[in-house]
Every structure is written in C-alpha cells, then in structure tokens.
C-alpha cells in the first residue's frame, strides 16, 4: 500500500474518502500534480511598527513610474514603510479596520474603514489626507467598502457626519474621485450628461456587507439578504437587479474576487462560489466548503485574501487560516489545508496582497495585534526565523486485517534534518504506539568526477559524493501494535524544509 498526500482535509467522514485526502491536519502544502507531504512556507517576520500596536490596515500604491509606497496603519499612527524603516504619516484611528483600493487615474489609493470611525483617506505617494468628497453640507465622509467600476469610485455602506446609510452606495462622477452626491438618485431624472455623481440604495434596504467585481460586473451583498448586480451604463439608468437570491455574505470581509470567480462566506460558515453555472442570472452556487464543514461551521465571518501568485485563497479564521488551493478545485478532491502558528500567537488583524518592497513579486502580507508584519510566503528557517512549524496530517482509517507486524518505508528527499513521527491509533485493541523516523539533511559534499586529481579508485568512486539536496532516499520503520484497522497520524515539527514523496507499507 502506497500512501500519498496530494489532496487536502476532508472532514466528511474518516473512512470513505479519497486515500490521498486527510481527515485532519494542518500546515501542509498542496498543489496540482503534487503528491508530496511538504510544509507550508514559513511566516517571515518583515518588521514591527514603532508603536508595536495592532495593525489595522496594509496598503500599497504603485505609481506608473514604478515608485512604490506601502502604508501601514497601526494603533493611532499611520506609517510609510520601505520594508526596513517606518516613517510617520500622521494619525490613524486605533478602532478602525482599513481597506483600500486603487484609483489609478490619478495614481492614488483610497482608504475606507470597515468600522466607520475614520473618514475616507487618500494617499498620493506623498501625503496621507482626507478625501475631498464634494458633498454639500457634509464634513466627514465615511465608507465601509470601496471599489472602482466603470470609471467611477464606488463607495458602499456610507456615513455622512453622524448620519449612517448602511444601505447606500454612492458613485463618484465619471473619472472624478472627488465628486460625490448623496442626494441624486441614480436612474432618476435631472442628469444632463449621465457622468454626474449619484447614489443607489440596496433593493432590499438591508446593510451592504460586500462589494466586488465578477466578470467586470459589480456585485454587492446585503446583510441577511441576497446578492445584487449593477446594470446600466450611466447615472440615468444604473440600477441594482437580483443576482442570486439564495444567500448573501456574512460578516464584513467575507467576499473576495479570486481571478475567475468570487468566493464568499455565507450563513453557517459555508463558502460559496459564484462561478457555478454558465448561465448568468441563473446562478446556483456550489458549497465548496463541504470537506471542511467542521472547521468553518461556527464562523461568523472571515477576512479573505486571494494570493494570485500562488493561486491560494486565505480565509482568516482567528487563530488559524483556512487555505483553499484553487488549482485543486477541478480534481474533485479536497483543496483545503489549514495554517497554524501557535508559537506566533497567530491572530491577524489586517492582510493584503501586495508587492515586496525589493521586487515586483507579490505576496500576502498580514499584520497582527503586536504590530508585526509577516510574509505568508516566507523563505526563512521557521516562523519569524526561529519557531518550528508543526506539520500534521491524519490519514483515513487504514484496514490492516490484523497483520501481526506493520513495516514500511518513508521515501523522502534529502533537505534538512528533522524527524517524522508516525503515530498509530489501533482499532479493537484501542492502543497507541508510534515510530520516530529521522529524515536526514542533504550533504554538502560536491560530486567527484573522473579527472584531474580524482581517479577511479582509492577514496573516489562514482556516485560516492553523498546525497545532495533533493536526492530521493528512504528510511524504514516498523510499528508496534495490531488491530483490524488503524488511524495513522504523521507529524513533523521543524524549522527545516522537508518533502516526503510517499510511504510504502
């Protein structure tokens, strides 16, 4: 029997699942065509804000000339961060939850606050200022959500001074981010060119809790309501129509555009996909979270970030991150893993998919309550360069037919020195036992070749140069215990990289 690890967690049952799936586990990586047991990338600690306060927003502006600036909101301060040092840009509200979107026309980013305690901000690469909004008689303008659509800045769930309009969506004037109007209803008369600013209300009058683009169509979700799509082409005829009445997102951050699809979490922690039918308007969303029902069932909302580079969608669920590997969606097997980092006290308070400061490569960076900024796709040894990563994978029940002795071999690649723990829960006897299998490091030896000072003989032989990085090797093991069946759990707790090809039993 050959055990491989190509699929993710399947909590539906612990027997009749695909043998490449796991019934539990965390911190293992998946990928299309990959059957190995590999650890997730370390969470590199990139920096800590000077005030070491909760990070409430991570934003980035990339100007047309390539100039890059990253803004970090932490506690009561806003900083410009160059990847090494922080420069104060003024104040922030410690109770905010900032998000941003690009307004590329004027090379700025607009920053909204999910908690509506701070006004809409704007960063132009030099100055962090309050957005000029142009609404008559309004001083402070707040919005929970923002996005650019059809040449307009779109803000949803807004507040003007002390007046809350959670069901309102305002559209800026065409190609003018600084002109809004909360008195001109879209689709009504009184517009001259159709380029004017206007507003719309959610058709069910419920608070808006999600705003995203799907196939270049603006989609909004209402709280305990449904999904709507925007139709029309200017201020005179824009209107919301039903998109999918079956459900809507929960929480305030539970929608994400993931390239060719939109994913959102609805009541009960169910993660749904909008791309389930080619018949637009007749969408029957699929519950893609079935395999991880136990993990998400109590979730009341989540922060979702799409890592386009690695085609992963991160669902931040408090002290753990549910990871959806998009490439595996088409396989029919579970595409989910879970990331944990107990030593870091994982508790992200902000996250964004942005570029590294030193390259144009993108990654997901997240900040936590201690002002720390982490790279989700790090390259160091262990989390924050010091903490071991525990990778665990519990396999479905294995039928062993009372074999008196189970022995096998672990086929792996020489990388770093670590130990694989194989733990058994035997059926019938209900006993526990385990093996610890050492995984050896690659050799630093360089290969000797026939020629020069090296000849065929003496200390030098072909193939005697040791196991270089990635060399396939194997280690044996034999289990104490017996029973009709056994649960097998594999654990590697290390800061080293490792790769287990398969286990032959």
């Amino acid at each position: 029997m050959r055990l491989t690890f190509g699929a993710g967690i399947n909590e539906l049952n612990d027997i009749a699942i695909d043998p490449t799936e796991a019934i539990a586990g965390y911190n293992f990586e998946l990928g299309l065509g990959n059957n190995k047991l590999k650890p997730r990338s370390p969470f590199d600690l990139l920096g800590t804000t000077p005030n070491a306060s909760q990070i409430t927003g991570i934003h980035q502006l990339i100007e047309r000339n390539g100039t890059k600036s990253t803004i970090i909101m932490a506690g009561t301060s806003a900083y410009k961060w160059d990847g090494a040092s922080f420069t104060s840009l003024g104040t922030a509200n410690a109770n905010s939850e900032y998000h941003s979107f690009d307004w590329d026309l004027d090379q700025t980013i607009l920053i909204t606050d999910r908690n509506q305690v701070d006004v809409i901000r704007e960063w132009d690469g030099t100055t962090l200022s309050n957005l000029t909004h142009g609404i008559t008689g309004v001083t402070s303008f707040y919005a929970k959500y923002g996005i650019v659509s059809n040449g307009r800045a779109v803000l949803a769930n807004v507040k003007t001074d002390t007046t809350t309009n959670p069901h309102m969506i305002v559209f800026s004037a065409f190609e003018n981010r600084q002109s809004f109007d909360t008195s001109a209803r879209g689709g009504s008369g009184g517009f001259s060119t159709g380029d004017e600013a206007f507003y719309l209300l959610s058709p069910d009058m419920k608070p808006i809790n999600g705003l995203t683009l799907f196939k270049n169509i603006l989609i909004c979700s209402t709280e305990d309501g449904q999904l709507f799509k925007l139709v029309g082409n200017d201020a005179t005829n824009y209107q919301w129509v039903d998109f999918y009445s079956g459900s809507a997102a929960i929480g305030v951050n539970s929608m994400v555009n993931a390239g060719n699809d939109v994913y959102y979490m609805r009541q009960g922690g169910v993660i749904e996909s909008l791309k389930s039918t080619d018949t637009f308007g007749d969408v029957g969303t699929d519950d893609i979270s079935l395999p991880v029902r136990d993990t998400v069932k109590d979730s009341t909302g989540t922060r979702i970030v799409y890592d386009q580079t690695n085609r992963k969608i991160f669902f931040f669920l408090g002290s753990e991150v549910l990871v959806l590997f998009k490439d595996l969606l088409s396989t029919g097997k579970s595409p989910f893993s879970i990331y944990k980092a107990d030593d870091l006290t994982l508790n992200p308070s902000a996250a964004a998919y942005i570029e590294y400061q030193t390259s144009t490569d993108k990654t997901v960076m997240w900040g936590d309550v201690q002002g720390r900024i982490f790279d989700m796709n790090g390259t160091g040894k262990g989390d924050a360069g010091q903490y071991a990563i525990e990778t665990k994978r519990k396999l479905a029940l294995q039928d062993v037919n009372y074999k008196s002795l189970i022995k096998g071999r672990v086929f792996y690649r020489r990388k770093g020195t670590c130990e694989l723990s194989i733990d058994y829960e035997w059926g019938d006897e209900r006993s526990l036992s385990g093996n610890v299998v050492p995984l050896k490091a690659s050799s630093s030896d360089t290969g000797s070749y026939f020629g020069g000072g090296v000849y065929f003989g003496g200390n030098f032989y072909f193939g005697g140069a040791g196991a270089s990085d990635g060399t396939p090797v194997s280690q044996g093991f034999s289990a104490v215990g017996k029973g009709t069946s056994v649960f097998v759990t594999l654990t590697v707790n290390t800061s080293e990289d490792f790769a287990i090809d398969y286990i032959e039993v």
């Binding site: 022995k407 093996n435 050492p438 044996g476 093991f477």
Partner: protein, 227 residues
Amino acid sequence: MDYLGAVNRILINNFILKGDDDLVNTFNDNQHEATIRVAQNAITTELNNFVSAFHVDYEKTTGTLTTVVGQRTYSLPTDFVRFFGDSPYLYLPDETYRVYEYQGGENRLRQQDYTYLTTEGRESYWYWDSTITKKIALYNVPDAVYTYSFEYERDVSVSNSTDILPFHTESEAQAFADMASRRFKFMVEELNVSTLEQDADYTFNRSTLMNLMRYREPNKRYGKRYL
C-alpha cells in the same frame, strides 16, 4: 559480536536496514521497534535451541562450593545450567578428594539410609535437591569445612544489548546471526516455521557454524556436509 550487533545483522540481511537507515544503536530505538523486538526473539530462540542441543565452549566454567558444618543443601550459581561432562563431581583443588553423584538420587538414598537428612560425616556423594532453584545436597551432611570446585555449563543467554554472543570467533557469531536471520524472516513474514529446518539458507548457515566450531578440519568430500 554482541547482541545488538546480531540484531543489526538480521535487520540488514532482511533488508529492514537499507537506504538511509542507520544501524540501530539501542534496543530502545523507536523507528524499528517492532522488527527489533522480533529480531531479539529470533536470536534468543535460536541460541536456546542451539545450546540445548550442543555444547558450546563458552558455556564451560568453574564454580565453588564451601561446605558448612551441619548444612545439607547448597545453592548452585545463578547461571548454572548443568554440570559439565559425564559423571560430574565436586573436587578439592589439590585433587585429593572427589564427590560423585549418588546413583539413583534422593529417591534411592532415602530408602538406603533412613537418617540421610541428619547423619553428619565426610561427604561422599552429592544428589539433586528438588526445590524451586537448582540445588544439590551432600551425603553425609558435612561435619567440616571444605571448599570444592566443580565444572559446569553456565547460562549463555543474552539480554542486554552489549552481551556477547557465546562464540569464539566473529565468523561463528556471524554464521549464527545468519541462522537467526532466517528464523526472523519466517516470523515476520508469517511463514510456516515448521519448515524452517528445510530452509536451504538456514541449514547452510547452521552447518557453517558447526564446521567453524569444530576443533579439526571438516571431512573433505565433495559438496557440503550437513550436520
């Protein structure tokens, strides 16, 4: 070769240790725990069988017994298996006196001398004293102190990883471990162990061991001579 070395040889012979596997350096090794346990048993089973059927030089040793006035029974050494040779006896180091076994043992003696339990005098015979440990008794019951010597075959079983297998040479120990390797294979693979004696490799290694242990050249003849 010690006990641990034999276990390693068995695991290598059966391709349990290969590839990146290191030699086992303790019986508490967790990685190969199950196969180590079976290999240990294969060795002890083979060793018990071997020394029960053949005399191994490693077994022979000398013990002493000091008489006590009025004491009839005496414990033998804890590693005592049996007396060495035929007609075993106790002897004084200056070879002036020997005490042989009473023919017929206690069962006959108690018919011959009703007072054998208490009659004191110079001990003339020894006999087995049947009790929960290996003991002998003297007849007559000693009336003076003497220190006797005797040759016996000691227990050569192995239990600690550093215990040496009871063979003179490394070749002998290797041949023995190779025998045990076959028994290990039968145990692990749940083969019919009753056919072990017909296993060619097992009998080959057994005859190799016997030939190595002989004090003279084996008979020269075509082919192998299986004992």
